[in-house]
Amino acid sequence: MDAVHLKRQLITFTEQLFREGFLDEQFNQLQQLQDENNPNFVVEVVSLFFQDTERLLDELSKALDQANLDFKKVDGHVHQLKGSSSSIGAQRVQRTCIIFRNYCNEKNVQACLKCLQVVKREFALLKSKMETLFNLEQQILAAGGPPSI
C-alpha cells in the first residue's frame, strides 16, 4: 500500500476517534508537543499511560474485591486514572472515571463494580484503537511517507 493511501486512512481513522469521543482536544495538544527534539513523544506518553492504567485497573480490581471495601483507596486510584486519561485526552475513559468517583462517594459497591467493567472495556477499546493508529503511523514511515506529525 502506498504512503498516500495509508496517510488518508490514518486521517480518516483519527477523525473517527475524535468523532466517537475516544479522544479530545488534549490529544491534539499532546501531538503538538512532539517535535524533532522529541520525535516519539506521543507514543512514549501513551505507552506510559497504558502501563499505568493496566496497573491501576489491576489495583482497582483487587481493591473492589475485598470484603471490607476501602472506598478512599478506590477513589484514589480512580482519581489517578482520571488525571492521566485527561492528560492524554482519553475522553471516554476520563468521563467514566468521573461517574466512577461519584459512585465511590456514594459508596455504591454494585455501581462501582459496574463502572470498573465499563472502564476496563473503554480502556481495552481505546488501547486497540491507539495501537491501530500507531501501526498506521509506522507503516507510513516504513512506506517512506513523512512522519504524521
Partner: protein, 881 residues
C-alpha cells in the same frame, strides 16, 4: 372515639324526639381486669353511687370529685356519656346503686327495656324512674339465653324520667288538671305501694276514684293510676268522659315510653356506626401516607440505578439517534425522580417526619447555584433573571441549605414557568430592613422595576404576616437560635399571574390553578404546599400578591442562625468552596456601571461588588453624567454597560474614552456589555465591529463567579492585548521559558510526562519528581530552579503542605542573610522560587487557597498555552526585560 361533648350535643339536638325524658346517659360495661386501663384512658376513676343514695346531698353541695372511688368489684358500669342536663352522673358506677344495679342486671339479661322503682334522683332529689336498655356488641337472636346476652353486653343506655313533670305535662295536654286529681302508684309490691305522683292535697277520700293499670313496657312492674274529681261526685256522663280521658292518658303514657325506648336504641346504634366509620377513615389516612412513603422510596432507588446506567450508556459508542433516545430517557427519568421526591416530601410532611438540618452555608452561593439552574431557561425565554442579597445579610448562615434551596427553586420555577416577558427577581433582606423601608417603597413608582414592566406592590404579599402586624418579628419559641437572622425573601415576576378565584387555594396540596395548567405546564401541584410547610419549619410565613396579566410576588420569611456566632460548633466542610471566590485578583479595581434603571443597577452592582470591585453608577455616558465622577482621581478599569444603551452610546462612548485617556494615558478600560439572551448578544456583536474596542459580553443572569470568569478572560491580557492568538502566545512562551530550569512534581507519571513535555516544548530545562517530600529536598534556598509546577493532590505530603515547608525554609534562609526584604535585589530573587499549582478542577483549589499557602498561581492540568503564558509571565517578565 365519640367525645362527651359530641354525645351531649347530639342528645341535646335530638331531645325533641323524646320529650318526656329529662336526660339520657350511656354507661359501659367494664370488667375489673380492664378497670385500670379504662380509668387511665378516661382520666377519672369509677365512683360509687350507694353512699350518695344513703345520704342525699343538697343540690348545690354536689361535687363529683368528692365522691368515693368504687371499691373492687367483678365488673362496673360507669357512665361515660350524659346529656348536659344530667352530666353529673358521669363516672358513677351504675352497678353500685341499688335501683340501678337491679335495672342493669335485668335489662341485659332480658334484652328489653327495664324500669326502676321510683326513687329520689341524685342531685335533684326529685322522684323519678330510670328506663334502662342494654346495648349488645352484636346482633343477638331473639331466643338468645340470658347468659349469652350478658356476655354480649357492651353497655347500657338509660333514660331518666321525672315522674312529676311527666304526668303534669300529660295532664296539661288534656287541659283537665284543675278538675282531676291523679295519683300514680307503683304497685309492684302490693302491700307497700309507692306513690309516684300525687296532685291532690288530701288523699283520704278514696271513694270516687277510678283505678287503671299502667303498662310502661316492663312486665315486672305494675303501676296504677288513681284518678278522681277534686270537687264533688261526678255525673255519670262526666264520669264516663273522665274514664275515657284517663284511658287516653294511660295509652299515651305507655306509647310515649315505648317510643322513647325505640328512639334511644336507634341513637345508640347510629353513634356506634359513626365511631366505626371514623376509626376506619383515620386508619385509611395513616395507611395512605405510609404507602406513599414506601412506594416512593422503592421507586426512587431503582430509578437512580436506571439514571446512572443511562449516564454510562450515554458515554458509550452511540450514533446520533441512539444518543437522542438515551437523552430523552434520561430527562424523563430525572423528571420522574423529582416528582417522586415531591411526593415523598408530602408523605413525610403528612406523617410529621420531615426535619431540618442545621449546617453552615453561604446563602449567596446557594442562590447563585439556583440561578445557574434556571439561566438556560431564562435566556431561552428572554426573561431577565436576577438575585439580590442585601449587604446586611451575613455571609455564613446556619440552617438547612437544601430545604432553603428547595423553596427558592420551587418559587423561581413557578415564576419562570409562567413568565414570558419581563423579569423574575429574587431579593433577600433582613426583616428589620424591610420594615424600616416600607414607607419608602410605597412612594416609588411602579415602573421602577428590574425590567421596566409593572409589578404588583410587593408589600401586599406580606401584609398578612403575623410578625409584621405585631411589632415583634423575632419568634420567641426558637430557643435554639442564639443569634437569629430573620430573612425576608421575595420572588417577583411579571408573568400571567394567578386568577383571583384560584388565589385562595394556591397552597392546598395537589391543587393547581386549573385543569389546563397541569396539561400545559406539568407538575403535581404540591410544590407550593411543601414550600409553605418548609417555611413553617423555618419559623417563617409565606404569602403572595398576584394580579392577573401583571405578575405575582411570593414572599416568605425564615429564621436562620448567624454563622459567625458559634463557628466552632459546626464543621466547616459543608461550606460550598465555590463561594470563596478568588476576589483578591480584582480587589481594588473600579468599575463604571452605566445603567439608567436604579433597580437593575443595584442588582448589577451587588454582584460586581462581591468580587471586591468598587462600582460607580451613572445613568448614561453623556458628559453631564460622568463629569460628576472624579474620573481624574479614580482609575477606571472596566465599563459595564447594559446592552440596550450600546447603540445610543456610539457617539458618547469615544468622547468618554478620550477624556479618560487625557487624564491617564495608560488607562484603557475594558468594555463589557450586560445582555439578557444569547441570541441578542450575537447580533450586537455583529453590528458593533465598527466601534474601536469590541466589547466582551456578559450574559445574564449575573452571578459573581460567572462575572469573575468573564473578567478574567478579558482582563488577563490587559497589558498584552496584542497576544491574541495561540501562535503568538506560544512564541512568547518560548521566549519566557527558554533555558529555564523548572521542577515538575506530580505523583501521576502520565501527567508528569505530559507536563514535562509541554514545558520542554518551550525550551525549558525540566526535572521531574513524583512526591512532595522530594520537592522539598530539591527546593532549598539558594534555589537551583527558576520555577516549580506542583500537583496539589498527592499522597503523604500534598502540594499545599510542600509549598508551606519550602516557604518556611526560604524565610529562615533569608533571615540568616539578613535580607528578608530584598526582593528587588538580584541575590534575593533566589530566596523565592515561584511555585504554581497544577490542578484539574478549579473548585478544588481556588486562587485564594493557593496564595494563602505561599503559591504564586495555578494552571489547570492539561496544559494550555495561553493560560500557561498568563501565569508564567507574571514572574518571568521582569527578568527577560
Amino acid at each position: 372515639m365519640v367525645l362527651q361533648r359530641t354525645f351531649a350535643r347530639y342528645a341535646e339536638r335530638t331531645a325533641f324526639e323524646r320529650p318526656l325524658t329529662s336526660g339520657v346517659a350511656y354507661a359501659v360495661r367494664v370488667l375489673h381486669s380492664e378497670r385500670e386501663q379504662f380509668e387511665k384512658h378516661q382520666g377519672w376513676t369509677i365512683k360509687r353511687m350507694d353512699i350518695l343514695e344513703q345520704k342525699p346531698v343538697h343540690k348545690d353541695d354536689y361535687e363529683p370529685e368528692a365522691l368515693e372511688p368504687s371499691p373492687v368489684q367483678e365488673e362496673y358500669a360507669p357512665v361515660i356519656f350524659a346529656q348536659d342536663t344530667v352530666s353529673h352522673v358521669i363516672s358513677l358506677d351504675l352497678l353500685s346503686g341499688k335501683e340501678d344495679r337491679d335495672n342493669v342486671l335485668r335489662a341485659r339479661a332480658s334484652g328489653k327495656g327495664v324500669l326502676t322503682a321510683p326513687f329520689r334522683l341524685i342531685k335533684t332529689n326529685r322522684l323519678g324512674v330510670i328506663l334502662t336498655f342494654a346495648v349488645y356488641k352484636m346482633d343477638l337472636p331473639s331466643n338468645a339465653t340470658p347468659n349469652e346476652r350478658i356476655q354480649a353486653t357492651a353497655g347500657y343506655i338509660g333514660g331518666i324520667f321525672h315522674i312529676q313533670s311527666l304526668v303534669e305535662k300529660l295532664l296539661q295536654q288534656l287541659a283537665s288538671k284543675q278538675t282531676i286529681d291523679v295519683t300514680v302508684l307503683d304497685t309492684t309490691n302490693q302491700s307497700y305501694p309507692i306513690s309516684m305522683y300525687d296532685s291532690s292535697s288530701n288523699t283520704s277520700d278514696n271513694d270516687l276514684s277510678y283505678v287503671s293499670m299502667l303498662n310502661f313496657g316492663d312486665p315486672l312492674r305494675k303501676h296504677e293510676m288513681h284518678c278522681r274529681f277534686k270537687e264533688k261526685a261526678p255525673w255519670p256522663l262526666l264520669e264516663m268522659a273522665t274514664s275515657t280521658g284517663i284511658l287516653v292518658i294511660a295509652l299515651l303514657l305507655g306509647h310515649i315510653f315505648h317510643a322513647t325506648m325505640i328512639r334511644i336504641a336507634k341513637v345508640e346504634d347510629d353513634c356506634r356506626k359513626m365511631m366505626e366509620l371514623k376509626k376506619r377513615a383515620e386508619a385509611a389516612d395513616v395507611a395512605k401516607s405510609q404507602f406513599l412513603a414506601t412506594v416512593s422510596h422503592e421507586i426512587r432507588t431503582p430509578m437512580n440505578g436506571v439514571l446512572g446506567m443511562l449516564q454510562m450508556l450515554m458515554d458509550t459508542d452511540l450514533d446520533v439517534t441512539q444518543q437522542d433516545y438515551v437523552r430523552t430517557a434520561q430527562e424523563s427519568g430525572k423528571a420522574l425522580v423529582s416528582l417522586i421526591n415531591e411526593v415523598l416530601d408530602q408523605a413525610k410532611i403528612e406523617s410529621g417526619k420531615l426535619e431540618l438540618e442545621a449546617v453552615q452555608f453561604d446563602l449567596r452561593a446557594t442562590l447563585d447555584d439556583v440561578l445557574s439552574l434556571f439561566s438556560g431557561k431564562s435566556q431561552e425565554k428572554g426573561v431577565e433573571l436576577g438575585v439580590y442579597v442585601s449587604d446586611r445579610v451575613p455571609k455564613i448562615l446556619i440552617g438547612d441549605p437544601g430545604r432553603f434551596r428547595q423553596i427558592i427553586t420551587n418559587l423561581m420555577g413557578n415564576s419562570i414557568k409562567f413568565t414570558d416577558r419581563g423579569h423574575v427577581f429574587v431579593t433577600v433582606h433582613l426583616i428589620e430592613e424591610v420594615m424600616d423601608s416600607i414607607d419608602v417603597e410605597t412612594e416609588s413608582s411602579p415602573q421602577n422595576t428590574l425590567s421596566g414592566f409593572p409589578v404588583p406592590k410587593r408589600r401586599l404579599s406580606w401584609s398578612k404576616f403575623r410578625s409584621f402586624s405585631q411589632e415583634v418579628p423575632i419568634c420567641p419559641s426558637v430557643s435554639l437560635i442564639s443569634d437569629p437572622i430573620n430573612l425576608i425573601v421575595s420572588v417577583e415576576d411579571t408573568g400571567e399571574g394567578i386568577p383571583l378565584e384560584a388565589q385562595s387555594r394556591i397552597f392546598t396540596p395537589f391543587v393547581q390553578v386549573g385543569p389546563s395548567i397541569s396539561r400545559t405546564h406539568g407538575g403535581t401541584g404540591i410544590g407550593l404546599s411543601i414550600s409553605k410547610y418548609l417555611v413553617g419549619l423555618m419559623n417563617g410565613e409565606i404569602g403572595f400578591v398576584s394580579i392577573p396579566q401583571v405578575g405575582s410576588t411570593f414572599t416568605f420569611t425564615a429564621v436562620f442562625n448567624n454563622g459567625h456566632s458559634n463557628l466552632g460548633e459546626f464543621g466547616g466542610p459543608q461550606i460550598n468552596t465555590q463561594s470563596i471566590l478568588s476576589t483578591s485578583e480584582f480587589h481594588g479595581m473600579t468599575a463604571l456601571l452605566v445603567d439608567p434603571r436604579p433597580v437593575r443597577a443595584k442588582l448589577s452592582r451587588y454582584h460586581v461588588q462581591r468580587l471586591g470591585i468598587c462600582v460607580e453608577v451613572v445613568p448614561d455616558l453623556t458628559y453631564g453624567s460622568w463629569s460628576v465622577l472624579n474620573c481624574g482621581m479614580v482609575k477606571i478599569d472596566m465599563i459595564l454597560m447594559e446592552e440596550e444603551l450600546w447603540d445610543d452610546s456610539s457617539s458618547s462612548l469615544p468622547i468618554f474614552l478620550n477624556h479618560l485617556r487625557d487624564n491617564d494615558p495608560g488607562a484603557v478600560p475594558k468594555l463589557f456589555l450586560l445582555t439578557n439572551s444569547v441570541s441578542s448578544s450575537r447580533t450586537s456583536n455583529g453590528t458593533t465591529t465598527a466601534i474601536p474596542s469590541k466589547p466582551a459580553v456578559i450574559t445574564k443572569p449575573l452571578r459573581a463567579s460567572m462575572i469573575a470568569t468573564s473578567l478574567r478572560r478579558v482582563m488577563g491580557f490587559r497589558n498584552r492585548t496584542d497576544l491574541r492568538n495561540g501562535e503568538t502566545s506560544r512564541l512568547a512562551l518560548r521566549n519566557l521559558l527558554q533555558g529555564r530550569k523548572i521542577l515538575v512534581v506530580d505523583d501521576n507519571d502520565v501527567n508528569l510526562k505530559v507536563a514535562a513535555g509541554a514545558l520542554k516544548k518551550y525550551g525549558a530545562d525540566v526535572v521531574c519528581e513524583n512526591s512532595g517530600s522530594k520537592a522539598i529536598s530539591l527546593l532549598k534556598p539558594p534555589h537551583q530552579f527558576d520555577a516549580c509546577f506542583m500537583d496539589i493532590q498527592m499522597p503523604v505530603i500534598d502540594g499545599f503542605e510542600a509549598t508551606k515547608r519550602i516557604r518556611e525554609a526560604e524565610r529562615s534562609f533569608s533571615g540568616e542573610y539578613g535580607r528578608g526584604n530584598g526582593s528587588q535585589d538580584g541575590k534575593a530573587v533566589n530566596c523565592h522560587v515561584p511555585i504554581l499549582a497544577m490542578t484539574a478542577d478549579v473548585i478544588q483549589a481556588t486562587h485564594e487557597e493557593c496564595i494563602q499557602c505561599g503559591m504564586d498561581g495555578y494552571v489547570s492540568k492539561p496544559f494550555e498555552a495561553e493560560q500557561l503564558y498568563r501565569e508564567v509571565s507574571q514572574f518571568f517578565a521582569s527578568q527577560t526585560n
